[in-house]
Symmetry: C2
Subunit: 141 residues, 2 copies
Amino acid sequence: MKLTSKGRYAVMALVDLAKFNNFNPVSLRDISLRQGISLDYLEQIFSKLRKKEIVQSVRGTQGGYVLNKKAKEIKLTNIFDAVDEKVKTVQCKKDSKKGCNGKSTKCLTHNLWDELENHINNFFDEKSLEDLVKDNSERRI
Amino acid sequence: MKLTSKGRYAVMALVDLAKFNNFNPVSLRDISLRQGISLDYLEQIFSKLRKKEIVQSVRGTQGGYVLNKKAKEIKLTNIFDAVDEKVKTVQCKKDSKKGCNGKSTKCLTHNLWDELENHINNFFDEKSLEDLVKDNSERRI
DNA sequence: ATAAACCTGACTAAATTAGTCAAGTATCAT
DNA sequence: ATGATACTTGACTAATTTAGTCAGGTTTAT
C-alpha cells in the first residue's frame, strides 16, 4: 500500500499555491521550479483540480491559478478525490462465489478493510490545506 | 493508495488458519478451497510467513501449517511486514536537491506523510489475528 | 503581434502485481 | 517399500498501473 506521487504532488503544489496566493495568480512554471515537479505533469494535475473546483485558472500572460476556496475549507479528501487518488483497501468482486460479493457472503476480513478505510479517511477528512500551511510555516523552509 | 492482494490474502489465510487450528495442521489445499485463493500463490505467501516465524510447517501427509504464536500475539503489522506489504507514503530521494532529502530540506508536506504513516501503522499495531477471528465468529459465515 | 501561461489528448517506458509453472523434498499411512 | 500428500523453491509471464513526456493547441495582457 502506498500513496502515488500524483496525490503527493497535488498536495505539495497546493501548499505551495496557498503560500504564494496572496495577490496574483501563481503560475505552474513557478510551482514547477520551486517544487521540482515536471510542468507537464503539473498541468495534468491542475486540470483535474480545476474540474473539481478546488482551483480557478487565470489565462494569459501573468495568469496562473488561485485557490477557489479558503484553505481551511479544502480538505485532503477533496484533493485526493480530485486527482483520483483512491484509498481502496478491498477489491471484492461482485460475481465472486467464494471470497466476497460485499453482501450476502462477506470474506473473512471484509469488516477489517472497511474499518481501515474509515480510519484513513477520517485522517484525510480532518486535515485541511490550512493545517499544512501552518505546520509548514512553523518550521523554516 | 491501495492494499495489494498479497497482503489481503495473507490475512484471510491466517484468519482461516486460526479458525481451524484446533488440533491438526491445516493444509494450504484446504485454505485454497475455502478462500478461493490459488494454491501456488498461497505457497509463496506461506513461505514468507514461515520465514518470519508466524507459522510453522508440518511436512508429509496430514501436514500443513500451524500458528507459531497465539492469535492474540500476531498483529497485522507482523503479517504485512512478513509479506512485504509496505505502508509507504513518502518516497523522498536522498540525492534530491529540491523536494526532499529527509534531513536538511524537507519537502513541504514531509510531516504530513509521516503523520499519516503513523496513523495507519497504529491501526495495524493494535489489531491482532484474535480480534479478527472474534469479529468474524460473531457474524455467521 | 507575441510571449506567457493555460489546456488537452495521446503516447510510452518502467515498475509492480498477481499470479502460473516446473521441479523438486519430506513424511505419513499402508 | 511405496505411493500419496503436502511442503519448498525459483523462475517465468501477462496484465495493469504509474509517472511521466510530447505535441499541438487556445487565451489574454502588454
